[in-house]
Amino acid sequence: MSEQSITRQNQGSAPSARSSRPKFTWDWVGLAPFFLFAIAFLLLPSLSIFIRSFQAPDGSFTFDNIIAIFQGRDFINAYQTSLSVSIITSLGGGIFGFLLAYAVIMGGLPRWARSFMLTFSGVASNFAGVPLAFAFIATMGNAGLVTRLIESIFNTDIHAAGFTIYSIWGLSIVYMYFQFPLMVLIMAPALDGLRKEWREACENLGGTEIHYWRYIALPILMPTILGTMILLFGNAFGAYATAYAFSGSFINLVSIVIGAQIQGDVLYNPGLGNALALGMILIMSICMTGYVAMSRRAARWLQ
């Protein structure tokens, strides 16, 4: 088979055989930095996490780290908390971000409003970590500006009524601050790609608004929406600095538990930390696989 194709190729390109001989090209050099980067910062670390998940402190092979995850209620609880925060913020950020992007692109806003929103989204989606946590504490914390305003205007103590920003919901609100604009940022070009003619065609054929969304717009946008939501999910799932600056280890996220295992003074158990990270990689892989399957299904509409 391969021999055949080679001869056929040789025959076909006989006149210019010397120049088009696919013997050696330098094309791959352009890709080399990417592959080197992927190997150094993605593949090797993942491999190292995988190997060290099965290592005892003395370096011997063990399943103890993996078993420990299922035995500690702490760890199961941490996965649950991380998953809930990620799901809440990827759904919330996804839905509201989509609506905002739609309003900005399709809502007939003046040009400046649109570029203002997109620039703001670009900045806000990168606002995270210690400054973001402090910003929310300063506005909505116990002594926050908004908290105090509400208290002085309505003359009530909202904390006495059980309100606190230091909870899963509070953290989700903080995360939304960067999730939301990221969705806007990615959805805007996709929405730009929706042509007016499609809607007109739909209307001319007697289709309603629902038909347009059900059969035209959503199927076209679905791969982008799903892809971005996965991105938001991963963004929240792996976040560490923001949550840690926000409330230390109070909210029991996997990333924070890992931090305590590899940096902590006493809990120090890197093997367990690696095993927990392996669990995160596994969950992300499942999500990615789900995404690929779904986007493939969605992409079928386009053909």
Partner: protein, 387 residues
Amino acid sequence: MSKKSQFSRRQFLQVSAVAGSAALLAGCAPAATATPTSVPLPDLTSGNTIPLDDLVKAVEVEGKKLTTIALPHDWANYGEIIETFKSKYGISINELNPDAGSSDELEAIRANKESKGPQAPDVIDIGVGHTVTAMADGLLSKYKVSTWDTIDMKDPDGYWWAEYYGVLTFEVIKDAVPTPTDWEDLLKPEYKGKVAMAGDVLKSNESVMTVYASGLSRSGGDKTKAAEMGLQFWKEVNEAGNFIPVIADQGKIAQGETPCTVEWDYLSLANRDALAGNPELDIVVPKTGVVAGPYAGGISAYAPHPYAARLWWEYVMSDEGQNLYLKGYAHPIRFNDMVKRGVVPQEMLDKLPPAEDYARAVFLTVEELQAANKYITENWRKVVFGE
């Protein structure tokens, strides 16, 4: 042709090797004869005190360099200590990661065992609990500074010694909440959403000691029950809604988010000065459950500049160096000796909480510290948050 070129290459190599070694010999001959006779470098293995003059000379030979790690300039006045040491002895200091924790410091020694490069620390300043690991892993080199006898807490062989200590204080914003006098006050309803720690219990020694100190107060000084009772105490603080799980730092204290923070005195007193009345802070040592948190100094067994490292500690542990700690509100470990000899300036004493408060301070042994650390970090989430 190839044979000829091989021959000539070998010949060339021989010639250049001879020439090179001759040049090398010629170059170092005078130095090699001069150095050992004029300055016999002092012995490092015995750990005995080296007279200051000899030490200074040895440092000159060594290159007048020192590598430190984890010394934040606003922590216990390290900024001034470093600057005065530099100007006094003309030594350049390479400061590695000022914000590193104790385990990071030990890791830096471990990772640079084979390296004498700029990433290998000479001296470390670690939580006393970490000395066990450091010694077990052979990361420390022994040395007894000239003020050795007046140091109250140390390893008998000289592998480490305490340099300074602090006690935990309540750091209170005056207008926001009444000033508590003892741990049990923190359970009162007026502290709802007001009580914070300055670190994360799972990671920070300071917060573990906060839990321990409250327990020591409850147990009436019984060290064996302190860890357990401390967790119980914070469980009650949390259930009362008084505990805010935010890590209090200067910014959050200034903003008013954490009106009542438990923090080492040297940090809270430094905050009082830095914030300069905006807001006004009240610093109180609790009536009971006063726990001292000492830090331990040591020299890396793999130090690239072993003499500079010893000179550093001679300076830091001298009256002058120890007073600089006090200026940064860290109580030097030789405090009692220095007060007795009257070398602590009165104006410095005036800025501190009353000396009687410090007389109540309880020191833990390294073993007690480790047991408390282990028990508290392992049970913190379970007991306090019921998970």
